[in-house]
């Protein structure tokens, strides 16, 4: 458990260090995720061992963004004026993205006969 959590933190640390020293826009933890995925492919044994710890972290994922979400209190005046425009943008874009993504996937899968 401690070892697995340490592995995850080490990959985050590597990600943070790399993005900062190279001046990339990629968030450190995302690079850490990509590197850990590559590491899993190279050493599948580790992936199996870390699985339960990773699942534990991810099962309460939504709790983790409550603190940032509360930060909306600092944007209340802005939400009053820009709120409707923002909501409209989110609505249209979410519907379009779901429709486009699903249609592209199902059409190509049908063409290629790619079964589950």
């Amino acid at each position: 458990m401690i070892l697995h959590l340490t592995t995850i933190l080490v990959f985050q640390l590597i990600g943070e260090t790399l993005t900062r020293s190279l001046g990339w826009v990629v968030p450190g933890p995302v690079l850490g995720m990509a590197l850990l995925l590559i590491f899993f492919m190279a050493v599948p044994r580790v992936a199996k061992a870390i699985q339960p710890t990773a699942q534990g972290l991810l099962s309460h994922l939504s709790l983790l963004f409550v603190p940032a979400g509360v930060g909306i209190v600092g944007h209340m005046d802005r939400m009053g004026t820009d709120g409707p425009a923002i909501l409209l943008a989110l609505l249209i874009s979410t519907a379009l993205s779901i429709a486009v993504g699903a249609l592209v996937f199902s059409t190509l899968a049908k063409w290629m006969g790619a079964e589950e």
């Binding site: 959590l5 995850i8 933190l9 985050q12 990600g15 990629v26 968030p27 450190g28 933890p29 995302v30 850490g32 995720m33 990509a34 850990l36 995925l37 899993f40 492919m41 992936a47 870390i50 699985q51 990773a54 972290l57 991810l58 994922l61 939504s62 709790l63 983790l64 963004f65 409550v66 603190p67 940032a68 979400g69 509360v70 930060g71 600092g74 944007h75 802005r78 820009d82 425009a85 923002i86 409209l88 943008a89 989110l90 874009s93 979410t94 379009l96 993205s97 779901i98 429709a99 993504g101 699903a102 249609l103 592209v104 996937f105 199902s106 190509l108 899968a109 290629m112 790619a114 589950e116």
Partner: protein, 238 residues
């Protein structure tokens, strides 16, 4: 009364109070979500955020004071992002089997999500850091906050937009995809995961196991892709 004020003054400055308040608010939200039969619009995070915002407002507590306690929860976003590698790895064989439709749908869904959100927002007169904060809204929250911050947006605003996008996707996915006549569960799940991350994925798992698994893949891959795409597309609007 005076003593009570003293106790309050002490507690309000300590991390313990706001850390506990965050966990209580989330538990209340989660209980409401379960009591509703897991309806997507009864979102635990949205409930928790509203409760805490009201409490902060009533007690005149600055956000900085609140965050000093809540930062212990906030910190876990980083490790949780790294941990997303595990479910992605677990689905590698599924990703390989439908690689081409999957990659094309990922590109199409991701570009559509970012471009149409920025396009509508721009047309409605929004400019500057609000656009930057909107761009990563389809991505899972920990990654979206990181993207927003590294591009000069407002991470706290992004957090709320991410949650709203997730709730919208979870609510509209089934009726929308039924109307479009998409019957492939892989396609349905994947598109929902790309457009509305974890909240959409949780909804997909409720509807169909395959859809849920592909939603998870979509969420993970879009987190990686948007990291690269968002700065490029945002630069077109600034």
């Amino acid at each position: 009364m005076n003593e009570l004020t003293q106790i309050w003054t002490y507690l309000a400055e300590e991390p313990l109070l706001w850390l506990t308040a965050t966990l209580i608010a989330y538990s209340v939200g989660d209980a409401a979500f379960k009591a509703s039969g897991r309806r997507p619009y009864v979102n635990p995070v949205l409930i928790a955020v509203t409760l805490l915002a009201v409490v902060l407002w009533m007690t005149a507590t600055p956000y900085q004071t609140y965050f000093e306690g809540a930062q212990f929860v906030h910190f876990m976003l980083g490790p949780a992002t790294v941990a997303l590698a595990a479910p992605l790895y677990g689905n590698l064989s599924r990703i390989r089997r439908s690689a081409i439709p999957l990659i094309c749908a990922l590109l199409a869904g991701s570009v559509t999500a970012i471009f149409s959100a920025l396009g509508v927002a721009y047309a409605m007169g929004l400019r500057g850091d609000i656009l930057v904060s909107i761009a990563p809204k389809s991505v899972t929250a920990p990654v979206a906050l990181g993207i927003s911050e590294s591009m000069g947006g407002q991470p706290t605003l992004t957090a709320v937009l991410v949650i709203l996008t997730g709730v919208m996707g979870a609510v509209m996915a089934t009726p929308l995809l039924d109307r479009l006549g998409v019957t492939d569960w892989r396609a349905r799940g994947f598109a929902v995961g790309v457009a509305s991350h974890g909240i959409g994925t949780a909804r997909a798992f409720q509807v169909n196991e395959t859809a849920g698994a592909f939603a998870g893949i979509g969420m993970g891959l879009n987190a990686l892709l948007t990291t690269v795409l968002a700065p490029v597309i945002v630069s077109l609007f600034l």
